[in-house]
């Protein structure tokens, strides 16, 4: 129920309530952007029940992942996140 799906804002409109088109891996939906006044085109948001509840902080996320990888063992950490092989691959 508290499922939040990350998506990227591709268009913003405002006809009384701020809303926009958000791309979820190729599927676009109209989403209420009233709670994310700082989210513009190109920004990532977390969407729940048709409402963006957060603009994701890309710089923070990148930095935290780098810190996590460093903590987990530096050189052995995954370099290319989306294509990293699983153990035993």
């Amino acid at each position: 129920m508290c499922l939040g799906v990350p998506g990227r804002v591709v268009a913003v409109t405002d006809d009384g309530m701020r809303s926009g088109s958000v791309d979820f891996g190729g599927v676009r939906r109209t989403v209420c952007l009233a709670c994310t006044p700082d989210a513009g085109c190109g920004d990532w948001v977390i969407v729940h029940a048709g409402v963006a509840i957060a603009r994701l902080d890309e710089a923070e996320a990148t930095e935290r992942l780098a810190l996590l990888d460093a903590m987990l063992g530096g050189a052995d950490a995954p370099a290319a996140p989306s294509a990293a092989p699983g153990p035993g691959d």
Binding site: M1, C2, E58, A77, P78, G86
Partner: protein, 378 residues
């Protein structure tokens, strides 16, 4: 950055599981609060790759599951009224009420429609002014802003045919009850990341202080969950109890100020009965008096007093006292096709998580009337 793949990376996940094993000295029992987290843990088998000394018990964070029977019965009654269109999240349709569910009301001619957002229900009210559109509003603080915005939007459009049946619930009062129980076994909590995205962390600091348990705000992907578990176990091993945010890409300390302002304008905390946990002081969100014209309970009558009944042990499951696969009804008397209660049909229900992961019935920790188990005996 895609905000999904990075957090499902198997190399990171394995390294985190290894790190958890490395810091572990004693057995610990943790509770993940949110049903979405439960499903990731069980679906990905995270609970099975963790050292046996880390026991995860599943919390009450499935709003469909904690909605009591009398509220579902009230929704069924309203949906059966002529001229009414009841809009609901799809999860609610098959949850058993007293003697019927919303799907059966629809089959009998009631106008029950599944919506993705309360804002869609406002769209229906706007497009069909002859219908009285009632939004069956369930969910935690994550979902309540969408309901609040729907009411603000209905007022802006001047709609008089849009009403809300509010069954919204608040997480902190439930945690107080679980941690305050005399036989509580939970030693650390993974707090729900999207509830905290809206509300921030401030409400959890007093709970940490009062019960001296670490609370780690945690996300929903495998790497997020393992990072939350590592942070929680590390605190426990070091004898600390602190509020820690491990979902920083989404959760700011103050939460989402716009969403919180919308909540404060429309709702106020009220006492509310939860299935299995009883009436929780300030455990729900009710419409403020200023919004009475939009209140389905004002129009159709209040939800009557109710009690839990029957064979469903949802209360024990929701309080982390009974593992779903240890329930005597699991997979026999209770299956998704003929559920005894909501946790077997909700997409976030703990029982559904075990069922869809193919877990067999396995008497064990929390089995009915059994002794309080030791974490290490699993």
């Amino acid at each position: 950055m895609r905000f999904v793949d990075e957090y499902r990376d198997p190399v990171r996940a394995r390294a985190l599981a290894d790190r958890i094993a490395a810091v572990l000295r004693r057995p610990w029992t943790l509770m993940e609060v949110c049903g979405g987290q439960t499903h990731t843990l069980v679906r990905e088998g995270i609970d099975e790759v963790l050292p046996a000394a880390v026991e995860l018990v599943h919390g009450p964070g499935c709003p469909v599951c904690v909605t009591p029977v009398e509220v579902i019965e009230a929704a069924c009654r309203i949906a059966a009224e002529p001229g009414v269109t009841l809009c609901s999240f799809g999860d609610m349709l098959r949850v058993p009420g007293r003697d019927r569910d919303l799907q059966q009301v629809r089959a009998a001619g009631g106008d029950v429609r599944v919506v993705y957002s309360p804002l869609d229900a406002v769209g229906i009210a706007s497009a069909e002014p002859s219908r009285t559109v009632v939004c069956f509003a369930v969910g935690f603080e994550t979902t309540a802003p969408a309901t609040a915005l729907s009411l603000l939007e209905a007022r802006r459009r001047g709609l008089s045919n849009y009403l809300v049946l509010s069954a919204h619930v608040r997480v902190p009062p439930a945690l107080e009850v679980i941690l305050g129980a005399p036989d509580n076994r939970v030693q650390g909590l993974l707090a729900p990341g999207h509830v905290c995205t809206v509300q921030g962390g401030a409400e959890y600091a007093p709970i940490v202080a009062r019960h001296r348990v670490p609370i780690v705000i945690t996300g929903f992907e495998p790497v997020d969950l393992l990072e939350g578990i590592l942070a929680c176990v590390t605190q426990l091993e070091e004898g600390r109890a602190e509020l820690e945010n491990r979902y920083r890409r989404s959760v700011r300390p103050e939460g989402n100020p716009v969403a919180r302002a919308a909540l404060a304008e429309v709702f106020e905390p009220v006492d509310r009965r939860w299935r299995g946990l009883g009436t929780l002081p300030l455990g729900g969100l009710g419409l403020r008096d200023a919004w009475r014209a939009y209140d389905a309970e004002a129009r159709f009558g209040p939800v009557p007093e109710g009690t839990d009944d029957g064979r469903c042990r949802a209360g024990l499951v929701l309080a982390g006292r009974l593992r779903p696969d240890a329930c005597p009804e699991f997979g026999t008397g209770c299956r998704p096709e003929h559920p005894l209660g909501a946790p077997m049909v909700s997409t976030e229900g703990a029982c559904a998580a075990y069922w869809h992961a193919g877990r067999p019935r396995r008497p064990g920790p929390g089995d009915v009337a059994g002794p309080v188990p030791e974490a290490a005996s699993r």
